[in-house]
């Protein structure tokens, strides 16, 4: 039995809300249109994953081949490896960026000199604007075997050079450091905004009760930051099956020696598409990615809901 009254109630509720806050909704229109056209509409393209796509036949006219396009991905060993890499690296990125961004935000908040605070904020924020291609050159300048800054330093300290670009085991750490360096500053600004918005009365009364600054951070700032953190982490988890293509392709490129730990679903799909020009097979991989992403976010949202209903996304 469908609950029609509930649905009608939902829509009339929205209507009332629109009447109440017309400007807020108007502000959202461009974004709404953006997602409608660039996220919802293209979803019909997923049908390509089940077809043998030819331009001349069009999306709807191409032959239906069922699960044929998934065969190449799932019959090899690579899908396990790239899925594991994508998950592992993204988890690492998400965890480290979150922890360090919170730390930066808290520390920035404790700085009393306004000038230094603004300066520090800007400097930490800067890497966010550097493109992956430029970062890849920086990484190469640091890590190349013969003339890299790190290897030269090692030699001058009497140690042996390291073959960074041949040793896959070191790259999850290197990529995490690079990722944190680029994004932690950006994320910290969001957390800082949340901290700045916290009611000052709570801190004042804590001060009256004799709390130290450290105690205030642990007992007040962090707990009040939790909802923001959870929301951002949940949003991050939604994209946990999507590797940052620009990052991986920019820094790793076509270096087979590093594939075992750094090949993610996106770079794998790109290589297959580039070599074969087969849209359908690539669509199949993307569909797999999207499905897994949906499942994970659903799962985590469910868990969060169990713990505290207010923190969940939906």
């Amino acid at each position: 039995m469908v609950n029609f009254r509930g649905i009608i109630g939902f829509f009339s509720g929205i209507k009332v809300d629109i009447k109440k806050n017309p400007y807020l909704y108007a502000l959202g229109i461009p974004g709404f249109l953006f997602f409608a056209f660039f996220s919802y509409l293209p979803m019909f393209g997923h049908v390509l994953a089940f077809k043998k796509y030819r331009v001349s036949d069009g999306i709807w006219g191409s032959e239906w081949v069922g699960l044929d396009n998934f065969k190449f991905f799932f019959s090899g060993h690579d899908w396990i490896n790239v899925t594991r890499n994508t998950l592992l690296l993204n988890t690492l990125f998400l965890f480290m960026t979150t922890v360090i961004a919170i730390a930066i935000a808290v520390f920035l908040n404790e700085i009393r000199s306004e000038v230094f605070k603004k300066l520090a904020q800007s400097v930490i924020f800067l890497p966010y604007f550097i493109s992956w291609m430029v970062i890849s050159l920086m990484v190469f300048a640091l890590l190349n075997f013969d003339a890299g800054i790190i290897n030269r330093t090692l030699v001058s300290l009497g140690m042996d050079k390291v073959e960074w670009y041949q040793d896959a085991s070191k790259w999850p750490a290197i990529m995490s450091i690079v990722y944190v360096w680029k994004f932690a500053g950006y994320n910290s600004i969001i957390y800082l905004a949340a901290i700045t918005g916290m009611p000052q009365e709570v801190y004042e009364s804590a001060k009256v009760d004799g709390a130290t600054r450290f105690q205030m951070i642990i007992r007040i700032t962090l707990p009040m930051l939790a909802p923001t953190v959870i929301t951002l982490v949940l949003l991050g988890i939604g994209r946990i099956f999507f590797g940052d293509f620009g990052m991986f392709y920019g820094i790793i490129g076509d270096n087979p020696a590093l594939y075992s730990t750094t090949d993610v679903i996106d770079t794998f799909a790109y290589r297959s598409l580039r070599q074969l020009g087969n849209f359908s097979m690539s669509s199949a991989i993307v569909l797999y990615q999207s499905m897994m992403g949906l499942v994970t976010i659903g799962l985590f949202n469910f868990i969060v809901k169990k713990i505290n209903k207010d923190y969940s996304l939906f």
Partner: protein, 522 residues
């Protein structure tokens, strides 16, 4: 809590709005690229004539970089064609590194495109079997008489795909040629004579390592062309068993032909002893610090060589082109490149299937197929037309020291006829080539020097094994480039490669052999 949620909502709104603003910026570009074709099909092909009263624009995709004088050249070409073809040329230069992606995307998306460069090493076989290209027989007969005159019939015959012409072969040489790109000034500074054998080349690599510790002694091709890797490069010259790679996997030798016997061999089952010794030699060079440690992290080896810190590198044609030499000399006027090869110039030393490796095609989606063909034909009606597009303006961008040669003046124009118009009749030899390179060039231009392959005219149809090829490609990418450049222990890595890939390779080999057997039985 409600307050907090409201705050979060506001934050979310801000994110949404700022994303939509960003999208506004990038959306515009996408719009430009996909502007629907304004031109409509007005050509009323009555028998052999096309109504040329209305001016059309041909969209052309070719690889390379746009030379400085290109716009002027195109304007001149358009003026010359006004009364005969009446087209404007919209030429898009695609960077080499993006070529395969761009070609497949253009064809896949059905974007407006009238003439496009493609090649078997770029996925052309798949593009043909997917049905992206227009068969050219009729167009050539009606509008391409000069194309048929300037490209010998044998060349068309040898370069059919599934029995049909899907692209005009662009080429003069009868077999792909390669060479080592060597820094002449460094060789001379080391007191070494002209290099005549691989052993002498190796000697130079070690001498560079010792005397020039800051230079890269040897930088072979990395992942972009496995046939010019440290090991496989040697097959160009020292190839007693006449090993040729099949068309199944781009530039990989895993499935190969041998001794012109019409059989497909499989490196997993029959490792060729020469290839293995080349691989072991590559490993030794790598371990000795001759092959650049970070070769796999290099984006483009040609760019790296032009910077002046590579002593020996590789390239896929004969002689040093003027642009490369000029680029190096701009770093230091004393620097100089030379090419080193070890070809035998005895007739009958090599077999060839006379397959060209560059083509120009007309996509099915083109609305101006007739005009596209007419333009390509116009180039070949007169040597002056060819010279204009191939070399620019005489006296300004190039000179003709004698009847059959050319030399560029300055760097306003570069050599790229292989991307759209190259043919044996109108080609000029670069006067920058030294005597040895000229001899090699002439040897490779003469079809009678080569033993015709048993598989002359055969093309592999990949359609039945697309899944297997996709699987192989992804497995190969993990192992093969490492093995053939000596980056990892060859035996250990080869065993892993074999364990993962031998099943799919066997399937492809069986299919390939079946198609050959059918072909040979006809």
């Amino acid at each position: 809590m409600k307050k907090l949620i409201k705050k979060l909502m506001a934050a979310a709104m801000v994110t949404v709005i700022s994303t939509s603003m960003l999208a506004g910026c990038s959306g515009k570009k996408a719009e430009d690229a996909s502007t629907p074709a304004k031109t409509e099909e007005v050509t009323k092909a009555a028998e052999n004539s096309v109504d040329i009263s209305k001016e059309e624009t041909l969209k052309i995709f070719i690889p390379g970089d746009r030379p400085a004088a290109f716009d002027k050249v195109i304007a001149e070409a358009e003026a010359r064609m006004k009364d005969t073809v009446n087209v404007k040329l919209d030429v898009v230069f695609v960077p080499w590194s993006d070529l395969q992606t761009k070609v497949t995307q253009t064809l896949n998306s059905g974007e407006k495109c009238d003439i496009i460069f493609d090649a078997p090493w770029n996925g052309m076989n798949t593009n043909v079997s997917t049905g992206y290209y227009e068969p050219m027989e009729d167009l050539l007969a009606k509008y391409g008489q000069n194309i048929l005159k300037t490209t010998p019939n044998e060349m068309f015959e040898a370069n059919k795909f599934a029995g049909k012409i899907y692209g005009i072969p662009l080429g003069v040489l009868q077999k792909p040629a390669g060479a080592y790109l060597v820094r002449k000034d460094i060789r001379e500074a080391l007191g070494l004579p002209e290099i005549k054998s691989y052993q002498e080349l190796e000697k130079m690599m070690y001498a560079v390592k010792e005397k020039y510790p800051d230079m890269i002694p040897f930088l072979p091709q990395n992942t972009a062309g496995n046939d010019r890797s440290a090991a496989m490069m040697r097959l160009y010259f020292e190839n007693p068993n006449q090993i040729e790679r099949t068309e199944a996997f781009g530039t990989s030798h895993v499935l190969y032909f041998k001794n012109n016997d019409g059989k497909v061999y499989n490196l997993f089952e029959e490792m060729d002893s020469d290839i293995w010794s080349y691989i072991e030699n590559a490993r030794k060079l790598y371990n000795d610090g001759i092959i650049y440690r970070d070769m796999l992290a290099v984006a483009d080896i040609a760019t790296e060589a032009k910077k002046g810190n590579v002593a020996i590198s590789v390239k896929g044609d004969i002689g040093v082109d003027a642009a490369t030499q000029t680029a190096l000399k701009s770093v230091n006027p004393n620097y100089e490149f030379e090419t080193v090869d070890f070809y035998s110039t005895n007739p009958g030393a090599y077999t060839s299937d006379f397959k060209q490796w560059n083509f120009v095609c007309i996509p099915k989606v083109s609305k101006n197929k007739e005009r596209a063909m007419m333009f390509l034909d116009w180039v070949r009606t007169d040597q002056a037309n060819y010279d204009l597009l191939a070399y620019g303006f005489k006296g300004e961008t190039f000179n003709t020291p004698d009847e059959d040669s050319y030399s560029f003046i300055g760097t306003d124009y570069t050599w790229f006829p292989y991307a759209w118009i190259w043919n044996p009749t109108q080609d000029r030899v670069s006067s920058d080539l030294n005597e040895k390179d000229k001899a090699t060039y002439q040897y490779f231009s003469d079809a009678s020097n080569f033993i015709p392959s048993k598989l002359l005219g055969f093309t592999f149809n990949a359609e039945k094994v697309t899944n297997e090829i996709a699987q192989f490609n992804s497995i190969e990418a993990k192992y093969y480039p490492l093995i053939i450049n000596g980056v990892t222990d060859p035996q250990q890595e080869w065993d892993k490669f074999k364990a993962e890939a031998s099943d799919v390779v066997k399937t492809i080999q069986t299919e390939y052999q079946a198609q050959i057997d059918t072909f040979l039985a006809q």
